[in-house]
């Protein structure tokens, strides 16, 4: 029966999402509570998957379909790690949304799409079949499209379309790769592909999908533009769900399952280095709050990709920890910026300053999250950065590591600039007040969690090490 925990994890948010508009038509409060329940229950169910994992027999479900096809769900360490990270941050984001979104129209659509998004993420991480991975991948693209275009202005819609077209175009190319993979292996089942060496052209096709979803240079352009979305949505895209999908699939396919050519242990980190540096440089010049953080996400995703593509256990463990730490810290960072944007009414950095006076708790939460992304101890980001760099140095690529150190220095520069411009200096909005307790509490929770995950690194690293050992 335990296996059905997996089904709950996936289908509770996926199907529950469709009930939300109906409930919302009658009682908005009940809809909100239900949305929170769906996401929190997903997190809770994900934690229930841990005992089986630690006992060495991960939960597994397999279904036979007509025409010789089949699909299944598998709760191995990698899947559970991703599910926990995504659902935890998503729960906090839903809680935060209660305050942020309460005055907006189309809330029914908003909560439905958010839950559907989480459901798609769960489906994707637990699926063992490439076709189902692709299906959940596209569901997430649709959710992303509706959520970015939540406000109905022309610019917003255009940018939502841009995000949709780029990610879906990438996904279609990836689908070609999946078909190519089927041609090579005769199956879409990942378990059956374990250890098979695949030709490089298939890898390149799949990489198109991965890099477009994970906003890696030069397929990243949609992410900075997606800042038009409501801030909790941005948080969801950057921290919990969307951009992590790409790196997850990289990990699942090219590290955990298939064998790829050695050239990719140089090519992917090299591309990641370009992405890390170009986006960090752009972040330093951007004056829109959310653009700065969006470029930061692109840059940090490159660190994740570096770790996962390093080709050794240290780098993989670092990459996985990076996913978690970045999710928590970037989620918190966006929630802080959401409070600022919500209360100040602008996203223009040049017009801000001195908000620490009226928003001290938001400022502290922001600083904690920024420190974690910079990789400063005792925050969790330190371990992730250290291990990712260690992974690439262990492969003898010191020059590449040096580029990432430069990227890390730029991270310190642009995040410090952001903090100083928004929170320090002379006050430009003295009348602005702190966010609602729920909003500030959500941001503070993630900020403190960044520190707790650093000091208690043993807990997440246990699971990450399990993933590393399984490579």
């Amino acid at each position: 029966m335990e296996q059905y925990l997996l089904v709950i994890c996936i289908f509770l948010p996926l199907l529950g999402a469709f009930l939300l508009p109906a409930v919302g038509k009658r009682k908005a409060k009940l809809r909100n509570q239900m949305a929170l329940f769906l996401v929190a229950a997903t997190f809770l169910c994900s934690t229930f998957l841990l005992p089986a994992l630690h006992s060495g027999s991960p939960l597994f479900l397999h279904f036979e379909l007509p025409l010789g096809l089949s699909f299944g769900f598998y709760a191995d360490a990698l899947a559970v790690f991703m599910a926990l990270a995504a659902s935890l941050v998503a729960t906090v984001i839903v809680l935060y949304s209660f305050g942020y979104i309460k005055e907006e129209a189309d809330q029914n659509e908003y909560y439905m799409m958010v839950c559907l998004f989480i459901g798609a993420m769960m489906g994707l991480v637990f699926s063992t079949n490439l076709i189902f991975i692709y299906m959940f991948w596209e569901i997430s693209a649709i959710c992303c499209w509706r959520l970015i275009g939540f406000y109905r202005e022309a610019t917003t819609i255009r940018r939502a379309n841009k995000a949709f077209i780029i990610t879906v175009a990438g996904a279609l190319v990836m689908l070609l790769g999946f078909i190519g993979l089927y041609g090579e292996t005769g199956t879409f089942d990942l378990a059956a592909m374990k250890g098979i060496a695949i030709p490089s052209w298939v890898v390149v096709l799949v990489l198109f999908g991965i890099l477009s979803k994970s906003a890696t240079f030069p397929l990243h352009s949609w992410l900075p533009d997606a800042g038009v979305a409501p801030t909790p949505v941005s948080s969801l895209l950057h921290a919990a769900v969307l951009v992590k999908i790409g790196v997850y699939v990289y990990m699942r396919m090219f590290v955990a399952t298939l064998q790829i050519d050695e050239v990719f242990t140089v090519a992917v980190p090299a591309l990641a280095a370009v992405s890390a540096l170009v986006s960090a440089g752009a972040a330093l010049r951007a004056n829109d709050l959310k653009r700065v953080v969006a470029y930061s996400t692109i840059s940090q995703l490159a660190f994740i990709l570096l770790g996962l593509a390093s080709g050794n256990e240290i780098g993989v463990v670092g990459g996985m920890l990076y996913i978690l730490m970045h999710s928590v810290a970037k989620g918190g960072l966006f929630l802080c910026l959401g409070i600022v944007e919500h209360n100040v009414g602008t996203k223009d950095l040049t017009k801000m300053g001195g908000l620490y006076r009226t928003m001290p708790l938001t400022a502290i939460a922001f600083l904690f999250c920024a420190f974690s992304i910079m990789g400063i101890p005792p925050f969790g980001g330190f371990f992730a950065k250290y291990l990712v760099i260690a992974g690439i140095v262990a492969e003898g690529k010191v020059l590449l590591a040096s580029f990432f150190i430069i990227g890390a220095v730029l991270t310190v520069l642009y995040l410090t600039r952001l903090f100083v411009k928004v929170f320090l200096g002379e006050a430009t909005f003295p009348q602005v007040k702190e966010g609602t307790p729920l909003m500030v509490g959500s941001a503070l929770f993630l900020a403190v969690l960044s520190a707790v995950l650093g000091i208690g690194i043993r807990v997440p690293s246990g699971l990450a090490a399990l993933i590393g050992r399984g490579m």
């Binding site: 330093l284 670092g318 001195g354 400063i376 760099i389 410090t416 043993r458």
Partner: protein, 620 residues
């Protein structure tokens, strides 16, 4: 004490205690931030307990303990042996004095609780770094100090955070370099443990690792090129911060690691290219720092340039890779921590009484503040390298090693000693000698409080004691900890070196008298150096920030960012304009092609069929 030693035999309780105690006390101090007396008692008692713990570890047999902590070899490995225990004790002793000074100095200020919170959290981090036998875990504690550093520099400066930003960026960069250096070292050695690394040869990738680690360590100590936040901090950071961090604690930590890099981790050979590079860095730090100190008119700024310059002597000594140089560098670190802290304390006392440290606004304080004057004088004599004070003996050791390695570096160090003496003659005479001069609105002043005088007095006396009885620090502390068997204590071995050093001091006195006569003012006694042919332009460029690494870093990042923005625009143009145009244009063309012509449709169908056939042929 016996109880603590007994605890040691039971396990690693005391090791944990050294980290947990300061962290808990820090939180308690912050909770009781409104109450001065409990805060004072808590701070002093816990600093004393910390010192007792450190002494207990120092007396115990060396031992190691490991605890599960992080992944991939990041275990919490602690190791106590003579050298780390010695530094724990020195740090604890310095912390006791600076925390006493800080808590008294800030007693009337609202930020006192927060400041002491940061101080104790920093102590927890420093203790952790000194205890760590695992390089990665050491980095965790080491880099964690960035948070407290940033916090302390933001106190009272939230509206004007330039120093805090500067410190975070420069120290952050140094720490990231250290991270790269540590990772390279760990990979090259095949182990993350200090105790298991057998002095790696400095060649190839290891040379990069060595350089990155050393730059990171020297950066923490306040040496070039990560130094330029320190003079900036002198302007707006609380004085106790200057006493504690650039004055003592960061020097101890930075030099501790520098010595371990040279003696434990890497095989730095005397006379090697890398040794020369390190010595060059040291000499440039000496001269660059002291040259700027010479022209300062504010006590704290002047002292902060000396804080940079003095690191140069330590780096120079360590860089020689000779036992006498390393010993000299270490002894100089101890001496500098003592007299530099005390000098900052005297500046703080003056600030407390007069409201300023600007030498243009006050003078002749000797009669009103005799004890502060005495403390200043003893420390100034020590830093200038006058016998028999401690600074004289440590400098002589560094000179000895520098001369043996390369005469040019020796001459550079002598030049530094000359300028140090000149600048302290200027500062001492202006601040304490002559007629009393008080800042506008100030009618009278009196000696500073006992709470501030106590740590100052202890440190000032130590300057003399450690000079006269230098056998104890040189032989029993550092020599024994490093396993150096040669005896370098007592009066310097080379009479020639002593004569030259004394001649340099005499020359400095002559220069000061000349400067005073030329300008008619002790404050401007060093200005003739500023206006000397060729130097004026260099000084002006320095004052405008042309030699400031922070400015270089920010400018470089700016240029790079502009380039990235250019790339970014092209990428956006491709997606937002070019791709859209191509798609719409293709649509239009297809629309135009859709004209009902059967032959055109047949042609398109044939083309499509041919395409499919080609795909099949390729796949088969």
């Amino acid at each position: 004490m016996n109880l603590l030693i007994a605890l040691l035999s039971e396990g690693a309780n005391l090791l944990w205690f050294m980290i947990v105690l300061p962290a808990v006390v820090g939180i308690l101090v912050w909770i009781f931030r409104e109450y001065h007396l409990p805060r004072l008692l808590l701070v002093v008692s816990s600093a004393m307990i910390n010192l007792v713990c450190a002494l207990s570890l120092d007396q115990a047999e060396g031992f190691a303990r490991s605890f599960s902590f992080g992944p991939c070899g990041l275990e919490l490995a602690f190791r106590i042996y003579e050298f780390s225990a010695l530094f724990l004790t020195l740090t604890a002793a310095a912390f006791l004095l600076v925390s006493l000074y800080s808590v008294v100095f800030l007693q009337d200020q609202k930020s006192a609780g927060l400041f002491m919170f940061y101080m104790f959290i920093s102590l927890a981090m420093i203790n952790g770094a000194l205890l760590s036998d695992n390089l990665g875990v050491m980095l965790f504690f080491w880099e964690g100090i960035l948070c407290t550093l940033f916090g302390m520099l933001l106190i009272n400066n939230l509206h004007q955070p330039k120093t805090a930003v500067r410190a975070l960026v420069l120290s952050g960069t140094a720490d990231l370099l250290l991270m790269l250096g540590i990772i390279i070292t760990v990979v090259q050695a095949g182990t993350p443990k200090f105790s298991e690394i057998q002095r790696l040869p400095i060649t190839g990738v290891s040379a990069v690792g060595f350089l990155c680690m050393l730059l990171g360590a020297v950066g923490k100590a306040g040496g070039m090129p990560f130094h330029s936040w320190i003079p900036s901090a002198a302007e707006d950071a609380p004085t106790p911060f200057m006493v504690a961090f650039p004055g003592a604690l960061e020097k101890l930590l930075g030099i501790y690691l520098s010595v371990r890099i040279v003696t434990d981790l890497y095989d730095l050979q005397p006379g090697s290219g890398m040794s020369t590079a390190v010595m060059l860095l040291g000499t440039l730090t000496i001269i660059g720092g002291v040259a700027m100190a010479l022209i300062q008119k504010d006590m704290k700024r002047l002292l902060s340039y000396h804080a940079i310059s003095q690191v140069g002597y330590m780096v120079l000594g360590i860089g020689t890779a000779l036992p006498v140089g390393i010993l000299g560098g270490l002894f100089h670190m101890l001496n500098n921590a003592i007299y530099k802290s005390c000098l900052y304390m005297t500046a703080g006392s003056i600030e407390k009484q007069t409201g300023t440290t600007d030498l243009r606004e006050f003078g002749g304080l000797a009669k009103r503040m005799p004890l502060t004057t005495a403390c200043f004088t003893l420390c100034a004599l020590a830093i200038a390298g006058v016998p028999p004070f401690n600074g004289f003996f440590s400098k002589e050791l560094v000179f000895d090693a520098a001369l043996e390695s390369n005469t040019l570096f020796y001459l550079g160090a002598l030049l530094g000693a000359f300028m140090t003496a000149v600048s302290f003659l200027k500062m001492g005479r202006v601040a304490f000698a002559g007629e009393l001069k008080l800042p506008m609105g100030k009618k009278t002043i009196r000696e500073t409080s006992f709470g501030l005088l106590l740590p100052m007095g202890v440190l000032a006396i130590l300057c003399l004691v450690l000079g006269v009885v230098n056998t104890w620090p040189l032989d029993q502390l550092f020599g024994s900890a490093l396993g150096i068997t040669e005896v370098y204590s007592g009066w310097p071995h080379s009479t020639m070196l002593v004569v030259v050093s004394l001649a340099v001091l005499a020359l400095a006195l002559v220069d000061h008298i000349y400067g005073c006569k030329k300008t008619g003012s002790a404050l401007q006694a060093a200005d003739h150096i500023y206006y000397a042919a060729g130097l004026k332009r260099i000084y002006q460029a320095a004052e405008q920030g042309w030699f400031d690494p922070y400015r270089w870093l920010v400018s470089l990042a700016g240029v790079f960012s502009d380039f990235c923005v250019l790339i970014e625009r092209q990428v956006s143009w491709f997606y937002d304009t070019a791709a859209v145009k191509v798609l719409l244009g293709t649509g239009d063309r297809l629309q135009q092609a859709n004209d009902g012509s059967l032959s055109r449709y047949l042609g398109a169908a044939l083309l499509g069929a041919a395409g499919v056939a080609v795909i099949f042929i390729v796949m088969l």
